[in-house]
């Protein structure tokens, strides 16, 4: 009986501390992950909050809390192994009586598989301000030159004036030369303009496959992943892009925005600063205006 009393006291303490830790992480989840994340955490008995806490433990400095919480979760399992299921079941019933529950013959459980990776933050729009510079045509094949030339003529003010037509033209260019990484990249841009991001990703991936050091294709695929809210993949692509070309200002700018979406403002500020040093200062100005960076 003494063992039972000690055990039930220990379990009560574990449960109370566990609830306090859940509330602490849940507050962070609502604050940094958004309302939907928080609600999902709440309606899944804290299971998703626990997973999310481990996912974000480094940037949000939750490591100690998460370690303690994990120990508290594992300890009843260990106690069951030590004291046996019968005693733990009896003790659980005793605790159920304390909380006013009708019965607790089975261990209570909850489980959630649903999740959201990132918060729906401010909708940052894409802007494509630069007019492309084109090399003079040097072609020896009129047909090939034609498709590409016509497609390039559609690119104005940072986007295609008629993306559908651009897709058709690049399709023909690709038919003529299926191994042109650039054609795939440019068709990807047309798909991007049409907001067909998965198709854009496919095209950029093909371009990278054909030309593994294709810096701009990595950057573009990163942008498509960004639109698909797959920020981890977007970040990986911007990293690749910067790795190949450390002076690529736009990749820093895009990585800064990705970091911002991932609630890593300090890293975002570093990237905005770097982009500005390399000549792209609009991002930094925006971040300062919105009090994201100093």
């Amino acid at each position: 009986m003494t063992t039972m009393f000690i055990l039930s006291t220990v379990m009560t303490i574990i449960q109370i501390v566990g609830l306090i830790l859940l509330i602490m992480v849940l507050i962070k989840q609502f604050k940094h992950g958004g309302v939907l994340q928080g609600i999902i955490g709440l309606i899944t008995c804290g299971f998703w909050t626990f997973i999310w806490g481990w996912m974000k433990h480094k940037p949000l400095e939750l490591t100690k809390i998460m370690v303690v919480w994990t120990i508290l979760i594992v300890s009843p399992m260990v106690l069951t192994a030590v004291f046996g299921f019968a005693m733990m079941s009896e003790m659980a019933n005793m605790l159920a009586g304390m909380t006013g529950e009708a019965s607790l013959t089975q261990m209570k459980d909850s489980f959630d598989l649903k999740s959201r990776k990132n918060a729906a933050k401010a909708n940052i729009k894409v802007n494509m301000p630069n007019q492309p510079k084109r090399e003079p045509q040097k072609g020896d094949s009129e047909a090939k030159a034609d498709w590409s030339q016509k497609a390039l003529a559609l690119w104005q003010n940072g986007e295609y004036t008629d993306p559908n037509q651009a897709v058709d033209l690049w399709n023909k260019a690709i038919q003529d030369n299926p191994n042109s990484a650039e054609s795939y990249n440019n068709r990807g841009l047309a798909h991007y303009n049409l907001k067909k991001y998965p198709q854009a990703v496919e095209d950029y991936s093909r371009a990278i496959q054909l030309k593994p050091d294709y810096v701009v294709a990595y950057n573009n695929r990163g942008n498509a992943y960004y639109e698909l809210t797959q920020y981890d993949l977007a970040e990986a692509d911007f990293n690749q892009s910067i790795g190949f070309e450390p002076g690529y200002a736009k990749a820093y700018l895009n990585r800064a925005l990705t970091n911002y979406q991932l609630d890593r403002n300090s890293q975002a500020c570093l990237d905005f600063k770097k982009a500005c040093e390399l000549g792209e200062c609009e991002g930094q100005q925006w971040a300062v205006q919105n009090s994201i960076c100093q």
Binding site: A120, E135, Y226
Partner: protein
């Protein structure tokens, strides 16, 4: 070939124009709601193999523990306050489903079939090659964006929980 090469520079310059500028930080309320509602919640998990494996592993472990009668994940809210949260009973219901007791499972928690199917999907996706994982993720992301299924499920669970507690649906 040289023709195509002439356009390579054009291609590269096309790309250089593609960047993201924070021109509009104050989205309209309507677009914010649309973004929130049609935000893909599940698809990004499938892109992250580690998260996928951890979730699928923990899910299967939890179901296994409860099936074996061991102490699994406990809802802290129910443990302390005695009030079940909207997710309470899901694992028990999934265990019943696995044992073929459909009626009892749905009576325990109506959302269990959906969660069990999700768990199976996670486990399958965890075993898929990277390329197929991406395809599945893209398909699910498009589906989520089109239907807003994540928010619908959350709202559905909250309504279901409310109805159960009001006594309109049996526990």
């Amino acid at each position: 070939m040289s023709t195509v090469n002439a356009n390579l520079a054009g291609g590269a310059n096309l790309t250089s124009g593609q960047e993201r500028m924070p021109a509009n930080t104050r989205a309209s309320i309507r677009s914010r709601i649309a973004n929130w509602y049609f935000f893909p919640a599940f698809a990004p998990i499938i892109q992250n193999r580690w998260l996928l494996l951890i979730l699928a592993g923990l899910g299967i472990f939890q179901v296994g523990l409860v099936d074996a009668g061991w102490w699994g994940w406990q809802c802290p809210i129910e443990a302390i306050f005695g009030i079940p949260c909207p997710g309470c009973g899901l694992t028990r219901s999934m265990v019943l489903l696995i044992h073929g007791e459909w009626q009892a499972a749905v009576a325990t928690h109506a959302f269990a079939p959906l969660f069990l199917a999700t768990l199976i999907l996670l486990a399958i996706c965890g075993a898929l090659p990277r390329r197929f994982q991406r395809c599945v993720s893209q398909y699910i992301a498009a589906f989520e964006k089109r239907t807003g299924i994540a928010v619908l499920v959350v709202l559905g669970m909250l309504i279901y929980w409310g109805l159960r507690h009001a006594g309109w649906i049996g526990h």
